[in-house]
């Protein structure tokens, strides 16, 4: 029973990692109607920026806030400089540019900060709750929920949030009602980068900071967002927790799978979910008009 409880809690803790990044995935999807494959590497890069600031003696929370601001600006800049000129290129070409960005950030981080793992400080106290779950993991759980709340309010209650959704869903009509679609895209990129930065700074204390930190996590983040429903921030968070728990339980209680095929099983489950709920568990189903 203790094993079961612990696996659930660890699943939740891992789930928080996935959920955090999944929120960034959802945010960018709301803005550009697509995935950003460089999302993980951007978050990793932001985390390194924060690490460098802390290393030179800037207090944690100052560095934390500065990193969010820098990441936001960086996200906006990427959209304006790199994506604006190829706005009309096919979507597949955009994906190639994402891949290019991924390679650039990964390689640069390795060259600047090398590959030795770095300790990234946690804002929460050390230690664990009864040896069951780390205090940082609990803290991260709440940070994820706060982020979720903020995003929910942003889209639901602010004009700019609604404008952004409109710009993504139907750029032409949005333009007609006076929304500046170009800047909405940039805003979406900025926000996604900022959320990614928070995710990175929350994840790094658990997995340690290195240039390949996000390699596996991004895959899980995508999976979480898709299982939960790519249009729904709440769904993405739920999806993250679900993926974390399912993965752990399958690895623990199905002997033929064990840890060896844990990832495979998680992926199979995800695809299965999609087969029955093609828009994810909490996603809106899209009605198509011909």
């Amino acid at each position: 029973m203790e094993l079961f409880l612990q696996q659930i809690l660890t699943g939740l803790a891992n789930g928080a990692i996935y959920a955090c990044l999944a929120l960034a995935v959802v945010m960018i999807y709301q803005a550009i109607d697509h995935f950003n494959f460089a999302q993980g590497e951007m978050a990793m890069f932001s985390t390194y920026i924060c690490w460098s600031m802390i290393a030179v003696g800037i207090p944690y929370w100052v560095a934390f806030l500065l990193t969010i601001v820098i990441s936001f600006a960086g996200g906006v800049a990427i959209e304006r400089i790199i994506f604006k000129p190829i706005h009309n290129a096919p979507v597949l070409s955009h994906i190639v540019v994402f891949i290019g960005l991924l390679a650039i950030f990964n390689s640069l981080a390795g060259a600047i900060w090398d590959h030795t793992i770095k300790v990234f400080p946690s804002p929460f106290p050390d230690g664990s709750f009864n040896g069951l779950i780390g205090l940082h993991e609990i803290g991260m759980f709440f940070v994820t929920l706060i982020l979720l709340g903020a995003i929910f309010c942003f889209f639901r209650f602010t004009r700019i949030g609604m404008a952004m959704q409109a710009a993504a869903a139907n750029p032409d009509s949005a333009e007609l009602v006076g929304i500046r679609v170009g800047w909405m895209l940039a805003l979406g990129w900025g926000l996604a980068a900022a959320i990614g930065a928070v995710a990175g700074m929350m994840i790094a204390p658990i997995v340690f900071l290195d240039p390949n930190m996000m390699l596996g996590i991004l895959l899980y983040g995508f999976a979480a967002a898709i299982v939960g429903g790519i249009t729904s921030p709440g769904g993405a968070v739920a999806g993250g927790f679900l993926v974390g728990i399912i993965e752990n339980l399958a690895g623990t209680y199905i002997p033929a799978i064990g840890s060896e095929l844990k990832l495979t099983v998680a992926l199979v489950l995800i695809v299965t979910v999609l087969l029955f709920k093609p828009n994810g568990l909490f996603g809106k189903s899209i009605v198509t008009r011909v």
Binding site: T116, P211, N212, G216, K262
Partner: protein
């Protein structure tokens, strides 16, 4: 490509002149890539992609040869070290190696990194009769002079180390119940194989749990929980630094207190024990064959001072915390030793002969650890020393041992 070919031609010309001159002085014999002033060595390393951390070794070797060249080279010849990126992808390794052998005309391939990557060129090198020297992988298959006379390993094989850990458990633990965490690839599996080989019939009863992880796994927490619940009193950790640090943290967080055995790959103070917490890492037992540059007792030695002087002058971008920089430093010295021994007879055959005729000690190797080879022994390093981390430094807890 064109300039490369011109260069090759020019070099071949010089080599021809060298050969003519050589007959006068007698005994000068050159294989491909060698002239009176130059020796060309090839290498593949992952400088990009998920395994890029290992690229550090290639950079360290390059930096060491820079030092050798600045100090006059080997028997008056400069080492030209051509290190290409293979991104840890076997097909790419094959492509790059063929480029090195067939276009760059290197004398040999030295310290190619990775098991699958070296496996991809294993047959090719032996068919072509090009030395594949001191490969940077701990698989067991590199020491097979009968079937693969052109390939030689360098570091202690993972299986050897697994056996040494097995021996340690048998000697020191009463009624052991072993839980293993291992990386799901050749490296992890070889350790487990070695351990099981040493435990023999008892392996089945002694090993109570085996858990693997993938390099893409974000954390290994779930595996550690399973290992703890198996009731193991010995935890054998076969993981790379990042996961080792995670494992140490998690084991302590769970208030689990097994005998903690850590593989040498992650036995480093600066990049594992410190990130995981010095207090958490107290009591961990491991094996070592070269000095950990991050450990305080190393830093007091002459050897370290020499190593550091080399790092600051020739490898200034390199990380003083990374033991890969010691690894490359030592491997490169072994190569230089072979070239020195070969003298003016720099044919591929003679290189292999000299590589199989080593008996040397080196600066950053632990005292008592030697590099020894013979025509039937293609495993240069086979000895290791058990050490324990006392919360600050690595303390020797026994003599240098070898698996046999």
């Amino acid at each position: 490509m064109n300039t490369g070919r011109k260069l090759t031609l020019a070099l071949a010309g010089i080599a021809a002149i060298g050969l003519v001159a050589g007959t006068a002085a007698a005994e000068k014999k050159y294989g491909p890539g060698v002239t009176d002033t130059n020796i060309k060595l090839g290498n593949t390393n992952p400088y990009s992609g998920p395994a890029a951390a290992y690229g550090t070794i290639g950079k360290a070797i390059t930096a060491y040869f820079k030092k050798v060249n600045k100090e006059g080279g080997v028997n008056g010849r400069m080492i030209e070290f051509i290190s290409l990126d293979d991104g840890y992808s076997p097909p790419k390794t094959k492509e790059q190696t063929r480029k090195l052998v067939e276009q760059e005309d290197v004398l040999l391939i030295f310290q190619g990194l990775g098991t699958p990557t070296n496996s991809a060129i294993h047959n090719y090198m032996n068919k072509k009769k090009v030395p594949q020297l001191f490969v940077a992988t701990g698989a067991t298959k590199w020491g097979d002079p009968e079937n693969y006379p052109w390939t030689m390993g360098w570091q202690p094989s993972y299986q050897t180390e697994g056996k040494l850990f097995g021996a340690y458990i048998l000697e020191n633990v009463k009624d052991p119940k072993i839980g293993i965490l291992f990386q799901n690839d050749d490296y992890g599996k070889d350790y487990v194989t070695g351990l099981k080989a040493k435990l023999g019939d008892k392996a089945a009863t002694m090993i109570v749990a085996e858990e693997s992880y993938e390099v893409t796994d974000p954390t290994i927490n779930s595996q550690i929980i399973k290992l703890k619940s198996s009731g193991a009193n010995v935890f054998f950790n076969v993981s790379t630094p990042k996961f080792a640090a995670q494992a140490i943290k998690k084991v302590r967080e769970l208030n689990w207190d097994p005998l903690f055995l850590n593989n040498s790959v992650s036995n480093t103070v600066g990049s594992v024990y410190k990130p995981a917490g010095l207090e958490n890492s107290k009591g961990i037992i491991s094996l070592q064959y070269y000095m950990d540059p991050t450990s305080p007792e190393t830093q007091e030695t002459e050897a370290y001072k020499k190593w550091k002087a080399w790092m600051t002058e020739y490898n200034p971008d390199g990380d003083l915390l990374s033991s890969f920089n010691v690894f490359g430093y030592l491997a490169a010295q072994t190569m230089v030793q072979v070239l020195e021994q070969a003298g003016d007879n720099l044919t591929r055959e003679n290189i292999m002969k000299e590589a199989a005729n080593l008996n040397m000690e080196m600066d950053m190797l632990l005292p008592g650890v030697t590099i020894e080879t013979s025509p039937t022994d293609f495993y240069p390093i086979e000895k290791m020393m058990p050490v324990q981390f006392d919360g600050e430094r690595l303390v020797s807890i026994g003599e240098v041992v070898s698996a046999d």
